[in-house]
Structure formats: C-alpha cells, structure tokens
Amino acid sequence: MKSDALVFSDVAGDLATRFPGVPLLAQQTRDDFPTIWVPRESIVPVLGFLKNEASQPFRLLFDLTAIDERHRAHREGQPESDFTVVYHLMSFERNQDVRLKVALSGDYPRIPSCVSVFPNANWYEREVWDMFGVSFEGHPHLKRILMPATWSGHPLRKEHPARATEMGQFTLPDAREVAEQEALRFDPAEWGMKERSEDSDYMFLNMGPHHPGTHGLLRIALQLDGEEIVDCVPEIGFHHRGAEKMAERQTYHTFIPYTDRIDYLGGVMNNLAYVLAVERLAGIRVPERAEVIRVMLAEFFRISSHLVWYGTFAQDTGMMSPTFYMFNDRERVFRIVQSITGGRMHPSWFRIGGVAQDLPRGWDTLVREFLDYMPKRLAEYDKSVMKNSIFKARGRDVGVYTTEEAIEWGVTGAGLRATGYEWDFRKKRPYSGYERFEFDVPIATHGDSYDRARVRVEEIRQSLRIIEQCLNNMPAGDYKADHPLSTPPRKERTMRDIETLISHFVGVAWGPVMPAGEACFPIEATKGCNSYYIVSDENTNSYRTRIRTPSFAHLQMVPQISRGLLVADLIIVLGSVDFVLADVDR
C-alpha cells in the first residue's frame, strides 16, 4: 500500500498548498482512502478545487452521507464532532478515491450545500437531511426524500429507535388519516413545476406508484405538453425499509441476509460488496477457492439480473415473448444457484471470510450444461430482440447522455460504459481475484438507450466467459478463511480445537467484534458501482453502515435525459437505466 500513501500525501499536499491557513487533518482508515477533515466553511471551495482545478481531478461525487458521532467511543485522532458529513469523491484519471469529512456540532447543525459544485449532491443532501436532520444551506429543494412528508424525526439519528417495538403503538385517528391523505394531494408548484405556458395549460400526469412501466414502487410526476415531457420529477421512498438503520442493530454476521434484499435481483452480489468491506475492516484474507466460488456466484447473479432487465426492457417496448424466454433462462441460473446455495433470489450465502459451504458434488456438470445452453439462446435473442428494427428505433437516440454528463450525475456501470468510457471496477481495481480472469469490458459509443442495452447483453457473454474459467480452474483449498473473525468458523475446525469452538460460540451468540475503524469497498455490481461504507466502533454491530447503490444515482439522472421526450420514451429510458427500487430506497 506504499503507492497509496504517496497519492494520499498528493491530495493532502495539493489541498494544503491551495488552501494555506485552512486547518486540514488527515485520518487513517482501514481502506487506505485518503481521508481529510475539512472545516465547515471551506468544504465547498475544497470540493470545487478537487473537481475543477486539481490535476487529474476528482470529477465523480461517489457518495455523500453523514455519521451521527454522538455515541461513538473510538474516535482517536479525529476532531470533535456531533454529526460528520462525509463526501466520497472519485478520480477516474488517478483511479483514486478521496474522502472528505466535515465536523459539525450541535443537535441540528447546518452546512453549506455543494449542489452548485456537484449537481448529483441534490438527492444525497436531501437524504442526509431526511435521515439526520442536518440542514444544507442553499439547497434548492431541501425536502424529505425517503420518508413520507408527514414523518417527524430523522431515523438515522442515534436517539431514533431501531425496532418497531420501541416506536410505540401505531394508531391512525381520523384526523391524522385526513392529514395524511391531504399530504398526498399533488401540487405542481411544490414539485417545482409551472402550471401553464404562455398559450396553454400543461397536463400533469401521475405515473405510479402503481404503474406497469415503472418496474416497482416509483412515482413520477410528469408535466406534459401533449405527450411531450416538459419536466418530470421522480418521487422515491416507497420501498424504503431502513436497511442502514438495521445494520446498526444486527451483528455483522446477521446483517448479511439484509444485503441480499437491497438490489433484490443481485442476490449474492450484495453480499459480496458487504463482506468485502467487512473483511477489509477486519483484515481477513480470503482463500483462493472461496474467491473463485464468490466470483462464479456473483457472475451467475449478474447474468440473472441482466436477464430480468433484458426481458422487462423488451417488454417495455411492447415485446411480449422475450420476457418468458429470459425468465425461463433465469430459472436455469436459479437451479444452479439453488443446488449450490440452497437459496434462489436471496441465498445470503457469502460469509465473513469466505462462503457458507463448499461446492456440492456435481456442481460442475450443472454449470457446464448451462454454459453449453446459454450462448445459443443469446444468439436467438440477438436476432429476435436486438436486431429487430422497431426495437432499435425505439432505443436509438432516446435518453442520450455523454461521458461528462454521466460522471456529473454519478452514473457507473453499464450506463457509463455505454457512453464509450471503459471503466469497470473488476478491471481497474480487481477484487476477489478478478485479475486472474480473462474477460473484456464491453463499451458502446452513443450513450443512448439502445447502447446501454447492447453493453448489458454483451456483459452476459463476458460473464459466461468468467464462469467458464471458474469451472475449468477451480482451485483446491478451503472455502473459508481461518481467521478468528471469520463467521462462523469452519465446522471441521470447531470440532478439533477449543479456540475455534469458542470463537464459533461468540460469533453466534453475540456476533464477531470488529476492530474499530472505517472501510468501504466499491465493487462492480449488476447495475453499477455498489459499496458499503462501514464504521466500526469495536462492537458486534456496526456503528454506521452506509450503502451506496448505483440505482439511486441513476434514477436521479432520469429527469435530465427525459425532458423533451414522449411518454413512450420515458418508459424506454426507465427500462434502459435499469434500476431496482429496493436498491434506490434501501
């Protein structure tokens, strides 16, 4: 990690030269991302500098979140803070991240908004306000985003209960019911929309939360001129289940099943992002066999997720049959997943330090059968879907954005690669042994809906290639690390020595105690970059778990690329962006 330290001093040094007299303080984290404390009043200029002026700039606001520090015990070397706002920036040129922290004091602190620097900070700042009660001065629309407008309180604050049983009995008196109903009334002005133009009234169309084209509980308010979209505002939060709050309640081990349900099409892909972050925190090295098993399962889920996208996207264009073919194929993926893990959509199969069990006998036959079967199907789909001229006409030049716009709005994954920018975490920052695999990173050039589709279809083929390599080169060895924090330890070992048996007991009865520190681990998930930022206070459960999901960023961009299109195009845009509402709302 020597080179990291160098770049680390780079960023800190650059900032120190550019902002003399501003007290900057570096913090060591377990993920070795340069972490710098910046005073409240300097944060916006510092962000502006890093984005626009620095050499090899940090152009992507990867994440923006907060930590309620008031109960945290282990904060050695960190400035006094009640609430810390965390900015996570990424530079593609440097292939480096930087984390900026701002210490705030007071129960309901204020901080300047950085929407003027990073437009995609808009939703993130709203979320921080909604969850923590931190106000952002100068934010254009600081309203609740995940919780209902009538909600009182800020759930991620430590004083807010984590269990329904602590919340007191729910009652719905008539007066409250009326008030709740009234709060749902649509008022265009409140959504930042004009009611009429010079010569005509606009039509407002409420699309969702129940609508066949939104792929889940999503409401989009449309301002229409005829069928042309003048403006559209997504409303999210219908699928919010407080996963981040649950992470503060569950042990590190028992939180794994919750991650499966974040991107519910991604299955173990969510486990992967989570356990990698925990392992980085704990300093666990995973055996090679476990790594390859993880890669194989993760790629199966990439295929499965892309198949659902493929089918539903075809359905969005009015095609009826592909959905059935692709769900059928997905079922074959599930059959393999089921044989290996026992689960289907949510196997919760990865463990801290490895995977739950070794591969079952005969797994290779199943995988080989699938590898023989799938390419033929993909070739058929190319003919019936991708090469269909109506399908092409629907996707071409609809929902176009450039690489710059993509980065400006925090787009990662296939959506970024479709603009012609070759960025894949598996290649650029290989994790879980991806450096040992041979595969291509498909890109396209126009950045329209059809190109995003092309990239994903090609990704299915590449995933098949990776799985084939897993099949042919599955290393021997253990499926779980022999680290004391691996949870639970391998059964064979617990039967042999008392030390392991005790750590098994502790891990199951209380949960493993992770060393104090912070770590995150961005991975290339099915829909883009997924990362869990875990703050440990040396306890059995995390002090704060921040889940950065790709869908959230992608959905925020939808209005930008939908203005001026028709209602029919909006459905295509939504489909091509490929989000899962559970992944948006968490």
Partner: protein, 313 residues
C-alpha cells in the same frame, strides 16, 4: 331464411371471437415455452366459459367522475360496428347475411365507425391515461383506415365490382394476393392497426398508458372491448380471405369449410405477430403510415390500373 342466417352468423362470430381469446392464450403459451390455460375442459377450451361467468359477475362500476352516457355507450359501439360488418362477409356462395352491391364500401364505412368507441371511451372516462390512449387511437385508426381503403382499390379494379361475392368469384383463376401482393400487405397491416393489436396497440399500450382508452372500464364493459377487439381480428381475417385469398374457393372441401380454414390461418398470423413484435413509438407509427404505406398504396393503384388497361388494350 335471412333471419336464421343472420342469427347463425351473429352467434357464430361472437363464439369464434370468444374462442379466439383461448386460441391466442394457448398459441402464445406454445410459442413462449409455457402451457397457458389448460385446466378448464379439454385443452382448456372451457376457460372462456369460466372467464365469461366471472366477468359477468364482476361489479359493473362506472367511475363517479366519468361522463355516464358515452361511457356506457362506448363498449357497445365497438361490438355493434364489428358485428354489422359481418353482414356482408361472404362465408360461402349461399351463406351471406346480405349481398350488397357495395359490400366492400359498407365494410369500410361501418368498421370505420369503430373509432367512435375509442373516442367515446377515452373521452368519457375523464382520466388522463384514457384521454392519451383515446387521442392516440383516433389518429392511428383514422390514418390507417385511409391506407386500408386505398389498398383494396386494386382488388376492385380486377374484380370490377364492390360486391364481395363477385370479388371472390373473380378469383377463380388466380387469388388476388398474387397480382395484389402489395395491396394485401398494406391491407393486413392496416387491419392490425385498425384492430389496434401489437405492434399497433398504442391506444392501450400497457407499459405506457396502463390500459389506454379502457383504463377505467371493468366488468362486462371491459369484456365488450375485449371481445370487440377479438371479433375485429376475425373480421379482418375474414376480409383478407375474401379479398385476397379466394374466399370460399378451394377443392374437395365444402366452401364454408374452406372459408373458415383460411380465416383461422390469418387469425393465427395475428397471434404470431403479437408474439414476435415490439411496438413502435407514436410518431414512428404515423411516419410509417403516411411516408411509406400511403405512397405504396397509391403506387399500387397506378400500377394495377396501368397493367389492367394495357391488358384490356
């Protein structure tokens, strides 16, 4: 006699329209690697009976915000116009409700009235999705009626009559789909558009407009739209057969059987198209119609006329 024929046609067509629903569900399932409804009766044939019983017992709800009279009228219009058109369909030399000497024009005229059901349904529902669907429906159906009308002019020239029975008889030597291949293709495309089925189901476009012009309908009123659509498919198939595929003509089998067989084939084509194709966007649909189908159908008329006159010499 005429009353009996009319009754047989009326009931027969309604029954075929209803069975077409089950045929479509089974065929789609076959092409989509699944079973489809196969429990009620042999091969699931009684499914439609169950569906009908269910739909009749459903609450027949008129939304309070709807404009009642047109709202109730709309589903009747589609059934009425489609069934009326069957009056001129020549099932066999003897089996026709009414042999009009302007049969073809009658068909075009009456079936065009079907657009009123979409207008009324979309407008009277007083819902934005319905309105958008209704507007789409009007423009689409009116445009494609034009190409449909133009595409059969060639047939009329060759047969020298608007009487559908005469048109069938004129095909004794050669079915018209060979000299009128262009006319046939345009007529069939127009037919799909007029019955607003995939790929031309924009007025209902589930993914975009929920259910388009009939979003607010439920119970048997919804069922009438549904059956109306399927009877429309039967009508277009029957007309395609009468105009281009020699109607009842064919060896060995009785004429009526030939007519039904051919019609059945085209009904299957309708379903196959639905299984295979996506839906174009609104502007693409209209561009396709006015920029491609219109010039093609005009060219077809000119060519047919030129060859016809040259041959007559």
């Amino acid at each position: 006699m005429i009353v009996v024929v009319a009754l047989v046609v009326l009931l027969g067509v309604l029954a075929i329209g209803a069975w077409l629903i089950i045929l479509e569900r089974r065929l789609l399932a076959l092409w989509q690697d699944r079973y489809g409804p196969n429990r009620a009766g042999p091969f699931g044939l009684a499914q439609i009976v169950a569906d009908m019983v269910k739909i009749f017992f459903k609450e027949d709800w008129v939304p309070p915000f709807a404009d009642k009279v047109p709202f109730i009228l709309a589903p009747g219009v589609i059934i009425a116009t489609v069934l009326l058109s069957f009056a001129v369909v020549p099932f066999s030399p003897l089996f026709t409700v009414s042999r009009l000497n302007v049969g073809l024009l009658f068909f075009l005229g009456v079936s065009s009235l079907g657009v009123y059901s979409v207008i009324l349904g979309g407008w009277a529902s007083n819902s934005k999705y319905s309105l958008l669907g209704g507007i789409r429906g009007i423009v689409q159906m009116l445009s494609y009626e034009v190409f449909m009308g133009l595409s059969v002019v060639g047939v009329v020239m060759l047969a020298g009559s608007f009487d559908l029975s005469d048109i069938v008889r004129a095909q004794r030597g050669l079915w018209f789909f060979i000299p009128q291949i262009l006319g046939f293709v345009i007529f069939f495309i127009g037919g799909i558009a007029v019955t607003h089925r995939i790929p031309f189901d924009l007025p209902e476009a589930e993914n975009e407009l929920v259910a388009g012009f009939h979003t607010e309908y439920s119970g048997m009123k919804f069922g009438m739209f549904y059956v109306g659509e399927y009877v429309g498919v039967v009508l277009i198939s029957a007309m395609t057969v009468a105009l281009f595929f020699g109607g009842w003509l064919g060896p060995f089998l009785p004429p009526l059987v030939w007519f039904l067989l051919k019609t059945f084939l085209f009904m299957c084509v309708f379903i196959l198209v639905r299984a295979a194709l996506p839906r174009p966007r609104y502007d693409q649909l209209l561009a396709f119609g006015w920029k491609l189908l219109l010039p093609l159908s005009l060219a077809n008329i000119v060519l047919t006329a030129a060859i016809y006159l040259a041959a007559k010499g």
